[in-house]
Amino acid sequence: MTSPNFNIILALIGGILLAIMIKLNSALALSVSPVYASWLAHGIGTVVALLLIVIVARLMLNTPTNISAICMASPPIWSYFGGIPGALVIIFAAMTVNSSVGLLGTLVLGLLGQIIFGLVVDSLGLFGLPKKVINRYQSLPILMIVSGSYLIILSGPGL
């Protein structure tokens, strides 16, 4: 088990990577279309993930970790399809950005959607994730991060 602090830092690093990724992909989308840019990014991502698997498997050969246990594991079939909603996001975003909702609304509503979804999944323990008790103390960080994000999106640093 990794320590709680380590996971928090890892999550923040994930956010940093995501911001840089969106910046690069939207620069690519300006010269080719958004869907096409996403297609290219997914293709490159597939190759890179495969390379990472090979590297990690090599490194694990010298450790006691049992690779065959990973090979034998059979997760539910639906867990393989995370790429479908992920790929659809770019298409729906293209729809809403060019509507009355605009870029600002797309970003803010998307953020709210993520948090509502997270709340529902955690409180019911859906999709095989551990069930987490949601109490009223959690509403404070939610409120602060959402309103802080709203201010930043409104000030428009071009996210």
Partner: protein, 146 residues
């Protein structure tokens, strides 16, 4: 208007759904294999979409605009693969809500840094307030984790 608002909200749910499914796969197969399947399935779906768009519109493929890109633009895909690895791991550890909150926080703080230099006093003030709120929010998330 209501229709587009619902689509924009659903889009956020789709982002969450994608991450949760990858997280579930990661529980059994590890985050690297989860990232691989996420990108593989995504590529297949988008190949279909790109194909349909290409067939339904008469625009010919513009190969020149693809090869003329600066190489750094393709780094988006490389970073994406790493991002899914990280997210698939943390979501199984800290849950979907906290993962979403902290990823959004990192994203917003980076957005502020990437956008510095194009500020008016008013927008600088708004960003300062936003950054302060998010940092306190992260601190509260961290307190709850312990």
């Amino acid at each position: 208007m209501i229709g587009v608002i619902v689509i924009a909200l659903l889009n956020g749910c789709f982002i969450g759904l994608s991450r949760v499914l990858n997280g579930r796969l990661s529980q059994d197969k590890g985050p690297f294999i989860a990232s691989f399947y996420n990108h593989l399935i995504g590529t297949l779906i988008l190949t279909l979409v790109v194909g349909i768009i290409g067939l339904s519109s008469n625009t010919s493929w513009n190969y020149i605009s693809i090869t003329n890109q600066h190489w750094s633009l393709y780094l988006g895909g490389v970073i994406g693969a790493l991002y899914v690895v990280i997210n698939s791991h943390i979501i199984t550890e800290i849950g979907a809500l906290k993962a979403a909150l902290l990823v959004i926080s990192g994203q917003m703080l980076t957005g502020v840094m990437l956008g510095l230099g194009e500020l008016t006093w008013f927008s600088a003030l708004m960003q300062f307030g936003g950054v302060a709120l998010i940092i306190v929010g992260i601190y509260l998330c961290k307190k709850m984790e312990q």
